[in-house]
Symmetry: C2
Subunit: 250 residues, 2 copies
């Protein structure tokens, strides 16, 4: 095995300090210039080491006097499908994610915002509407323990949003939109998840407080009634701090 490059060695050493717990969440990392001087290496080399950790999601990229910090990386488990509890969740009307977070003794919050967008190719495919068609959207920025955690946007065909005006009201729907839709005659009988993963876009990175290029999972959940798709939910989950679980019977 050849000797590793300097910046990899440095990253390994810093990573060790973090994963051992010596530098806990929120710990301030040494400034680039200080680390460079101490080690008699170039600041650029320090930056490359920090970039590695940034891409691994271990640290933040604060661009101000506050400097870089160690991120909180406790893993959050999210049940995308749970054989035993599907009924309870759907009928209880509580957002399943809120339940998952609470069961892990952490506190969940969300900010809702609504709007109308024109369908791009993906959205048109998911909802089976023409490209360019207006579509209603409820956007959620969801937080855990006060910090941004994931983005969850749900899209509805426009005719449905007109029939169920609560969809375009930026308030919490206490009983849950799924239950509400079922009441009004749109009972979802099957759904499909499509998963894609890639680096976060700059926009997503900003909203979630991630470094650019951190991997995120896009979970697209399409809900169908007997007749047609009635909603598409796109959830952006940052990598390495989440585990998505599916339980299935054979």
């Amino acid at each position: 095995m050849a000797e590793q490059p300097l910046y990899v060695q440095l990253a390994d050493e810093l990573r060790q300090n973090i994963s051992s717990g010596e530098w806990g969440p929120g710990h301030k990392l040494p400034p680039e210039r200080e680390l460079a001087e101490d080690r008699k290496i170039s600041r650029n080399t320090v930056i490359k080491a920090y970039d590695l950790l940034l891409h691994e999601g271990l640290i933040t990229s604060g661009n101000t006097r506050a400097g870089r910090r160690v991120r909180d990386r406790r893993t959050l488990y999210v049940y995308a499908s749970k054989t035993e509890q599907v009924d309870r969740r759907i009928t209880s009307g509580v957002d399943a994610w809120v339940t998952d977070v609470a069961e892990q003794n952490r506190s969940a919050g969300q900010v809702i915002d609504v709007g109308v967008v024109n369908a791009d190719e993906d959205l048109a495919d998911w909802l089976q509407v023409p490209v360019g068609e207006p579509v209603a959207v409820r956007r959620r920025l969801r937080s855990v323990d006060g910090l941004p955690d994931n983005l969850c946007d749900t899209y509805y065909p426009m005719d449905l949003a007109r029939e169920i005006p609560e969809i375009l009201n930026p308030a919490d729907v206490q009983q849950g939109v799924i239950a509400l839709m079922a009441e009004r005659g749109y009972r979802q009988v099957r759904y499909e998840d499509r998963l894609r993963w890639s680096p976060a876009t700059p926009d997503e990175a900003a909203k979630l407080g991630l470094g650019p290029g951190i991997a995120v999972l896009r979970q697209i959940r399409i809900g169908h009634t007997e007749e047609r798709p009635v909603k598409a939910t796109v959830t952006i989950w940052p990598g390495d701090t989440h585990e998505l679980r599916y339980e299935m019977s054979a």
Copy 2:
């Protein structure tokens, strides 16, 4: 909106050439020095732009005279759970992934290799065995159209591997290991998927021909009989060229 940094602008321009199809898969990108001279910018800036594209999985990082190339990024759809076809697939004994690939008019191949490893904490949790316990493993390197596509390692408790010697035989099991296990009294009644996503390790990157730091999805599928977990399959899917799908009834 403030003006983007130089390297982002350059990356955007190069990305445009790729996504428009002007530079197809395999196309050789301009050498860093040439691009720097043409644009009157520093070679380091060009490198940062190429690094962005590398992390997005758009290009390769060839470190030799061959230079950087555009990667083939056609998306492969993989069904992790398909309501209608579960039975057909399980009984037919053909690897479900091979079926998926064939249905998309591409050709699949795999190299199998077997061994025994000691359980780390994760594996011990998945198979419900003590940490350090020996565990049998069948490793697959699976290819599409002749190029490495994903890594698929299946772990079995040692007592089971002794009872079913085919598990540790590095040959294709024509009827499928699941069907074989069912014949010998280990019928799987439920399974659970756990999904994690993060940058590829250097080892994975090398086996799959990826740039370092490309996002990969780790799909861990744990199969249970009525009594206990009997296998854990870890599949490494490179990002941006795969979409994983789950179909479920409500």
